[in-house]
Symmetry: D2
Subunit: 335 residues, 4 copies
Amino acid sequence: MIKAGIFGGTGYTGFELVKILQKHPSVEINFATSKSFAGQTLNEIYPSAPNLTLIDGDEAPLDSIDVAFLCLPHAAAAETAVKCLNAGVRVVDLSADFRIKDVDTYNNWYNHQHPAPHLLETAVYGLTECAREALPNTNLVATPGCYPTSILLPLMPILHSRYHIASPIIADAKSGISGAGRTPKQNTHFVEASNNFSPYKIGRTHRHLPEIEQVMNWWRPNSPQLIFSPHLLPVPRGILSTIYVTLNEAPNEAEVRELYGRYYQDESFVNVLPEGQLATLAHVTHTNKCVIGITVAGNSLILSSAIDNLQKGAAGQAVQNMNVMFGFDETSGLI
Amino acid sequence: MIKAGIFGGTGYTGFELVKILQKHPSVEINFATSKSFAGQTLNEIYPSAPNLTLIDGDEAPLDSIDVAFLCLPHAAAAETAVKCLNAGVRVVDLSADFRIKDVDTYNNWYNHQHPAPHLLETAVYGLTECAREALPNTNLVATPGCYPTSILLPLMPILHSRYHIASPIIADAKSGISGAGRTPKQNTHFVEASNNFSPYKIGRTHRHLPEIEQVMNWWRPNSPQLIFSPHLLPVPRGILSTIYVTLNEAPNEAEVRELYGRYYQDESFVNVLPEGQLATLAHVTHTNKCVIGITVAGNSLILSSAIDNLQKGAAGQAVQNMNVMFGFDETSGLI
Amino acid sequence: MIKAGIFGGTGYTGFELVKILQKHPSVEINFATSKSFAGQTLNEIYPSAPNLTLIDGDEAPLDSIDVAFLCLPHAAAAETAVKCLNAGVRVVDLSADFRIKDVDTYNNWYNHQHPAPHLLETAVYGLTECAREALPNTNLVATPGCYPTSILLPLMPILHSRYHIASPIIADAKSGISGAGRTPKQNTHFVEASNNFSPYKIGRTHRHLPEIEQVMNWWRPNSPQLIFSPHLLPVPRGILSTIYVTLNEAPNEAEVRELYGRYYQDESFVNVLPEGQLATLAHVTHTNKCVIGITVAGNSLILSSAIDNLQKGAAGQAVQNMNVMFGFDETSGLI
Amino acid sequence: MIKAGIFGGTGYTGFELVKILQKHPSVEINFATSKSFAGQTLNEIYPSAPNLTLIDGDEAPLDSIDVAFLCLPHAAAAETAVKCLNAGVRVVDLSADFRIKDVDTYNNWYNHQHPAPHLLETAVYGLTECAREALPNTNLVATPGCYPTSILLPLMPILHSRYHIASPIIADAKSGISGAGRTPKQNTHFVEASNNFSPYKIGRTHRHLPEIEQVMNWWRPNSPQLIFSPHLLPVPRGILSTIYVTLNEAPNEAEVRELYGRYYQDESFVNVLPEGQLATLAHVTHTNKCVIGITVAGNSLILSSAIDNLQKGAAGQAVQNMNVMFGFDETSGLI
């Protein structure tokens, strides 16, 4: 039984983490913090939450925990990570702070100086399916962004394959509204979001773009450019990405299926769907699963993928990473 | 062709008013005001709105208009009403400021001193169906609240009848989320409002209670007490009220139907539904209609009523009142 | 470890049961049946379901199971119950067949002759909170209807109290659309159900009325009449009931709270909410909980209650009953 | 004042047509037909509809109308068109029957023999913006499909330009659920469609593909191949298409904007959005508008377009075509 602290327990990701860890057989939540709600209980914020008193992050007893989950805004996360690591606490960060290796890229896209650039090199990029060897030996894991998870998992087999890919790869992604965070804004107002659907920051302008391209280039140097178009979808949770990969000749669908099937055959949380089935949110919401559908049309390979943005796209994958770090069964506490 | 100014053009009610007046054959919008968005155009706020530049309310040219619609917070509305009336502009107020005749009741429920109590007596309570005689001769009309409209129209015939009514009358009302206003709040966040349903201020605590009981007592002195339970419904617009009136003996349904049918037979915007049909939001959204369903069960008369809170519950009824004030066809510009 | 069979595994209730039992530490699902989908797997119907092959109910191996859950239409359920009982299998019925003790009442409301009236007397009405003594000794439990559960739990303490209650009690109930079943109908079409809200079978016409009144009269002979008004709510799951109990004098709120608090203090799945809090669907969806809010207004006691119709209103309570029948921890497998 | 008959008045498209024509200053609805509901009134089906008695299509008095709108299934539409034309009635068809010029293509994609291939040549493809010259002289217009309208309008300027386009063009389209028709199906059940999002018939398998490519090739012979991916969006109405056009070099955004701005400057129903704005459903629902957003990213031109599938995607464009056919103001009756 290890002990966990959750920094930033009141956002959607923090609350999802509480729900998962509550049922985890090997973890006990020692505390959850909140800047705005310190002193209140979590169920004053979420009626179905446990009666957990929130504490101020500055007063969190670091010596009482083995692992810290950081559901904090970027910059704040890095600062807390430093404190935790100095106190001997292993860190599962859910912010963007340790995802991008190149500090200039980070500084440009996130508009401030990285508070702890010396940690970038050792932080493990925690797309669990390709981080299993590194995780047990690290004290700092960067949980990937929700969109990157939904786009990288379906791209991994084809990028690792010998298929020649024409530029650009197009990822048309649609995210449920919890992806926009809990702070109420005009575009998340029920009256304006329901019955609506809208693209935003499309092309090459969303902060998840450099994160995705970084990993694509790890897997295939000189990867094609990515065109990434996020859309706001009127559902509470889930991301569906439709990804267009143009090859230099028409691929054989059976071969592609065989490539993907083999690639993910031993994975607990990645399912390649059988012929004729496409990814939908109904496959994955409230689970840590990623499902991948395969369609071939002309020279194009169309990958449809679905995840729950709060699970495999955030809290679920964070726990999956923690499981590997601490030597627990990788599926422990997860569905 | 008369000229209208809209004070507070950017809330949901203000925008609905713009949409109605744009198509009104006898009205031209001269200006719309906004505190927060002065200088911007309305379609920067609502993508489907016309390209109407918003002006500061303090700089509104009162001499250019015949009628002012006030979609302002209470207190601010009364202050603007005074200015307009002094400038010879007729006022259709959509706030709560002139609905309640008794200034102490108003002060208590709205927690401040009424800015213009001398106007309370002359203001006409604009439930159009019972205000037609007074409207042409007034310069100040108070458009009823959305819940009161949805509850008073179905209650009017029975309160005006000879049926003996046991205390209390119960109004279980469910409102779409636009009723909570455009300012984003936690409980109107899509993620928290969708898949949810919640009562609030139930019993005898909502500000619309004294307004409804005031009118009930005009119609039947010593009316029974009202228990009024509003609920937040995950739809953008519409109010459905289910109203329970217990009589001292089992009413004859045919007689009640005949009472209601006769009462509203000449009304353009109030429809008594045929036997076997109950009120639904689908009857009324995007129209100025109120539909009323009648059910008898034991000694209870159950009235179901539906309106669009932004139309008959606000902007639509405001225009209906203006039509009567200025001698236009009462249905002009309305559906 | 006991073995369970699910009859009618493809409806919303059957699928919810599969999800619960899959994670239950003491139960193994031996089979699930389906008339229309025999031979297919459950995940062909629900993409997130397990890969469970559905069998024809007539070919179900009754000797392989200890308990049968019946998620069948009425009449079919009673017939299957007889077969199971004859084969020595204990039965948790989720249909209406064994809820009503009086066979004439059943025949009238359900429009056919009860197929097994001799079982009515011994069947236990499984509102778990008041059936704990009888459950271990029965082989046949009738899981209450969803609306009855949401209305009876909040009524139980007041009916068992000494308060004098005026007639009628009014239950204004709102149910998510899964309550209407999985078969697609016009009123469950997304285009017609979203943005809509509608009452149906209000007054004294819904089949759950005699079930509720039967139990009310067990608890308080000569209970007041019930007016029961169901409404269709545009959410997938959850029931919120707002219940109006008029007393012969204004109740003291503290006393009522104390009555309810004491009554349910040891219950795992019934929570009486603290002052100022009302029941909402957000309290209960995806859990087996029932929450109850208390409001006093004049002589009226207003009880707001919320349950998940597929959990405490069906599959969850069925498992809770099974837990008690078989001597497991009552909360086993439930949240 | 001309007289219109609506064949198939009870589907979503037929009802939308009734709503538009009711307010049209130059058209009177003489009858609406229905196979399943003949003898009933339209407001028995749609509570907000007018009290219009539906007649059997076989008994429709063709001599009483000037124009027939066909909201019928394919094949049935062509057969009715023949009867109407023979009776001297002009036909606005909303089915797929006269959209595709090549009869073999039609037969293959629609799986039956075209009932009236001799009419294919003279039928006008009614994408109004490029059919204005032909419409006044035809008696038969084929209203384009909803997806084709949403994809062709944004593609028209670039296909008519000198830009070199790489293959394939990708259209990732998302449609509200009314696009799936009124007949209830499992995938349009509220419980299964809400909180979900799903691609279907993606790649080169949807029936609208040959229609779109036919028109693309009219505009630019040897147009690039189209990859067309429809998705089911949990909103009642609206289509948003995100279209990826890869050019052989990075386009200058100002030049592209100038091309599009000039192209559509005189159009009433096509709006090219200003820089920084993308198309959303909120721009267009309940209007006949198409809005187009322009984004340049690398060599890619990303066009976002939005229409209301029941208006510009069906009934609205049908009326727009009728307006041009009969010499009315093109915007008459439309918003």
